[in-house]
């Protein structure tokens, strides 16, 4: 009886070592197929001010950093890239101007994101030894899709049904229900339901398939996070009785689809702090969580028998 081992990770958010570990994870974990469940781009640009005396300075993670020269800045860049952030070096006057010109600042941000993604795809094309599926998440702009599509080793599975082995199909969805940040791929539950129905209709056997949906099913234990007050920026956790109010932030449409179709496996992400496994009927749903900020690859290995289907899982944290 042949078996297949999947390595699923998600929400790498621009972290260089996490992406590199993911690509190398095929060999390391003896996985046959690699799947990345979305949110591949970073969230933050660290601006480094080039001072008039040739030195540099930056504020990063609440601490001020001073650099004597460009070489020091390049070393600093490695730390910044580890956390998933992007470095942008400019004079004080340019940074002041960007603070007033949001359009220009956004363009720089987007360019940095796409540049890193191109580097990542080059890395995968060079080092990948197994098939890799990478779909975008709700945080990712549309610009990432063509870059992934241009890869020789990485497949964007969002708009297609892929076979992870000789029998098991997988459909993918990077979108999520509306978040307080109103991200590029945030949709209403009605829209999500429609889109999922369309994807499911493409499957030959939904019962033995994999639902690679970035957004977890609501109230599944894979979606527990603080409830946020979206009227302030950045959104803040709502406190009650001295504690943070927790709730299930997942999608009702995703849950309904899983309850109705009972696929073999649900692979999810989106809520970084909600690493867990849950069963909805016969469906095993997993969210490996994310610690991209620490350069840690959180993933899950799933063993599947060609005949019997899902066999076992194992969280990894490398």
């Amino acid at each position: 009886m042949a078996s297949t081992r999947l390595l699923f990770a998600t929400d790498v958010h621009g972290s260089d070592p996490v992406w590199q570990k993911f690509v190398k994870g095929g060999q390391f974990y003896k996985a046959d197929v690699l799947i990345l469940g979305g949110d591949i781009t970073g969230k933050n640009v660290v601006s480094v001010t080039e001072n008039s005396d040739g030195t540099f300075s930056a504020n990063f993670q609440g601490q001020k950093h001073d650099f004597k020269n460009k070489s020091d800045v390049m070393n600093f860049d490695k730390i910044v890239r580890r956390t998933g952030s992007y470095l942008y070096v400019a004079s004080k006057s340019e940074l002041d101007e960007l603070a007033q010109n949001k359009e220009k600042a956004d363009q720089i941000f987007t360019d940095l994101i796409l540049q890193r993604l191109k580097e990542w795809i080059d890395y995968a094309d060079k080092f990948a030894t197994t098939p890799i599926y990478v779909n975008a998440g709700n945080d990712d702009d549309a610009g990432v899709d063509p870059i992934i599509a241009a890869s020789s080793k990485v497949t964007q599975p969002e708009e297609k049904v892929v076979l992870v082995d000789s029998k098991h199909e997988m459909i993918s969805a990077g979108f999520a229900n509306i978040t307080p940040w109103h991200c590029p791929r945030d949709y209403t539950e009605e829209e999500i339901a429609k889109r999922l129905d369309r994807k499911i209709s493409l499957l030959k056997d939904p019962h033995s398939s994999i639902f690679n949906f970035h957004c977890p099913p609501v109230n599944s234990g894979l979606d527990t996070c603080p409830k946020l007050d979206a009227s302030v920026y950045p959104p803040r956790p709502i406190m009650s009785g001295g504690g943070v109010v927790l709730f299930g932030a997942g999608s009702t449409s995703v849950r309904e689809a899983i309850e109705r179709e009972q696929p073999m496996l649900g692979l999810h992400g989106h809520i970084h702090e909600s690493k867990n496994i849950s069963r909805i009927g016969r469906t095993v749903c997993i969210n490996p969580g994310s610690e991209y900020g620490e350069g840690v690859l959180r993933g899950v290995l799933v063993n599947i028998d060609d005949q019997k289907g899902y066999r076992s899982y194992q969280f990894v944290s490398g």
Binding site: R5, D11, H13, P17, Q20, K21, K24, F28, Y29, T41, K43, N44, V45, Q61, G62, Q63, K78, R82, Y88, L95, L98, A99, D106, I108, F109, D139, A176, T179, W181, H182, C183, P226, L228, V232, Y233, P237, G241, G242, G243, L246, G248, H270, H272, E273, N276, I277, S278, E291, E294, G295, V296, L301, N303, R311, S312, Q314, F315, V316, S317, G318
Partner: protein, 562 residues
């Protein structure tokens, strides 16, 4: 939208790290605990013959200083690996996953069940029994007197059905609170913290507003009617001695010992049992803001431990100067003599310092604030045990070392029900042994050694971390600090190792530490046996998982990125 928005920003979801360093500081302060049996023991046993010549104040100062290397080690490790799971993650990645599982599961799960059940009994013997005794004496209410008498059989928990049943209720109550989820717990925690804090500061307030001579006269006034009503002959003897305070001192007839630095150091064994928990925030590292910042970590851990040392010093200063060392030494030396024919104490409650301080006040409100607040503090520790032990079980289950069912989380309350049930059963089993099989409790007499194994392994992790996890260390803020070419992390780890080995030595070879009063050499083998059993669980799980095509070691290995 605020105008504080950064130059570069974009819409991206996800929110992690919501606990501020300030909140983590308080959490660690609370983990040490305003109340625990530790402080009652310290201010009683610390003055007795077992620690002849010890200076408690100096011991607190030396302990606080000696703890700095350990807390600097954990602060540096936390800033280098600011990840959920704390020392379990550090040890598993740096030493070996089997060692990490065995040390955390035995120290922070199995043995915490023992501490929780023991503290459950103390809620009654140390808190509520004296309260009912005081109320019964003042009001003459027979019900209060009966409750006090029932809870005080033999002035201990042994063979006491009432203590067993009442503590069982506490264990069930703790389970219910934990099962209701973190939201309810957080609310209750504030209440418990406020109650125990008010109680502790009331103790300080009562002592600070009482002179030494006032204490003596109030204490004598409190005791006189009690002695007169129970033993007329003794009442005459006491009166001739100039009151019960002097009577205790003259009866004990102890000579004044000269100062002993060695006995002072031996008190580390008592202090560290509670003082060693100011790093407890590491189990929430993935939720703490600026967790990778060394200054923040130092503030949370070193800061909270040093702050607590100041509180403890204030308590010691007042107890020593208001109550008096000679009296305390005599009092507890006599109390430790369990032979009723030679024990002249007329006390009708467990005479530890909270009840002693309460009784010099004539206000039932003060009694209630001090003694009920004390039970709040003890109950809080029981809840912390529930949360910490289940968190480790959950992590081990998710890592596939323990069965999958243990990681079941209730959808509505988000609480790990199966792990909580196991913890409740574990606590109840220990309670049964403590109350009814107390000869068996000799096996628990070096329970502190179990946690020392974990402290020692954390120290070893700190020593080798810069060399075995070079990349992570070099990227961490701790890498900036070196003595020559030697990382400060390794140096403080080494110092911490020496301190923790010394404390382990106290647990093995030192005098009985009060609540670990039934000394037995076999308890060392028992503690090591539990540790070895946990190692076996790991290796059995390794074999079982292998059959399921799961290689447990993969859970803990880091993929080389380059």
């Amino acid at each position: 939208m605020s105008k504080d928005k950064p130059v570069f920003s974009r819409a991206s979801s996800g929110l992690v790290r919501e606990i501020s360093p300030h909140q983590a500081f308080i959490y660690n302060f609370m983990a040490i605990g305003f109340y625990g049996f530790t402080w009652a023991t310290l201010f009683s046993v610390g003055y007795t013959g077992a620690f002849l010549g010890a200076n408690i104040g100096l011991a607190i100062v030396l302990m606080a200083i000696s703890a700095v290397p350990f807390y600097l080690s954990t602060a540096m490790l936390a800033s280098a690996m600011p990840r959920a799971g704390g020392d379990y993650v550090w040890q598993s990645r740096t030493l070996h996953p089997a060692l990490a599982f065995a040390s955390t599961f035995s120290a922070w799960t199995v043995w915490q069940w023992y501490f929780a059940s023991f503290l459950g009994t103390v809620i009654f013997t140390l808190g509520l029994q004296p309260l009912f005794a005081l109320l019964g004496m003042q009001t003459g209410n027979a019900s209060y007197q009966t409750i006090a008498a029932d809870l005080a059989i033999g002035y201990s928990q042994y063979d006491n059905n009432y203590v067993f049943l009442a503590t069982t209720l506490v264990i069930i109550l703790g389970f219910a609170v934990a099962a209701l989820g973190i939201k309810f717990y957080v609310r209750l925690q504030y209440l418990l913290f406020a109650g125990s804090g008010i109680s502790a500061f009331t103790v300080l307030g009562v002592l600070a507003s009482t002179s030494h001579s006032q204490f003596i006269s109030r204490f004598n006034a409190f005791m006189t009617p009690l002695i007169t009503s129970t033993n007329a002959t003794q009442a005459t003897v006491v009166a001739n001695a100039g009151g019960y305070y002097n009577y205790i001192i003259s009866t004990a007839a102890l000579s004044s010992p000269s100062f002993s630095l060695w006995a002072t150091f031996l008190l580390f064994g008592i202090i560290w049992i509670s003082f060693g928990y100011a790093f407890w925030s590491i189990y929430n590292l993935s939720e703490i803001k600026r967790a990778g910042n060394l200054s923040s970590q130092s503030f949370m851990q070193v800061g909270s431990s040093l702050s607590f040392a100041f509180f403890l010093l204030a308590l010691w200063y007042l107890i020593q100067n208001v109550i008096g060392i000679d009296f305390l030494r005599s009092f507890f030396t006599l109390y430790a003599n369990f032979d009723p024919s030679t024990n002249p104490l007329a006390f009708f409650y467990t005479p530890y310092y909270p009840a002693l301080v309460a009784s010099i006040s004539s206000s039932p409100l003060i009694w209630g604030i001090i003694l009920v607040g004390l039970t709040f503090g003890l109950f809080q520790v029981i809840l912390i045990v529930y949360f910490a032990s289940t968190r480790i079980m959950l992590a081990s289950s998710i890592d596939r070392v323990l069965p999958e069912k243990i990681s079941y989380v209730n959808d509505r309350t988000h609480s790990p029900l199966v792990a909580l049930i196991i913890s409740a059963i574990g606590c109840e089993a220990f309670l049964y042994l403590i109350v009814y099989q107390y000869t068996f409790t000799s096996y628990f007499s070096t329970a502190g050694l179990a946690t020392q194994i974990a402290y020692i392994l954390i120290s070893v992790t700190a020593i080798v971390f810069p060399f075995r996890k070079k990349d992570i260390f070099e990227a961490s803020p701790a890498s900036k600090y070196k003595l020559g070419s030697l990382p400060i992390l390794s140096i403080v780890g080494f110092l911490s190792l020496i301190v923790n080995l010394f404390i382990a030595y106290i647990f093995i070879f030192g005098p009985p530490l009060g609540f670990l009063s039934v000394y037995s050499a076999s308890s060392i083998e028992f503690v090591i046996g539990i540790f070895v059993a946990c190692l076996l669980i790991y290796f059995i799980a390794y074999g079982v998982r292998k059959g399921q095509k799961i290689d447990l070691t993969l859970s803990f290995k880091e993929v080389p990125p380059e």
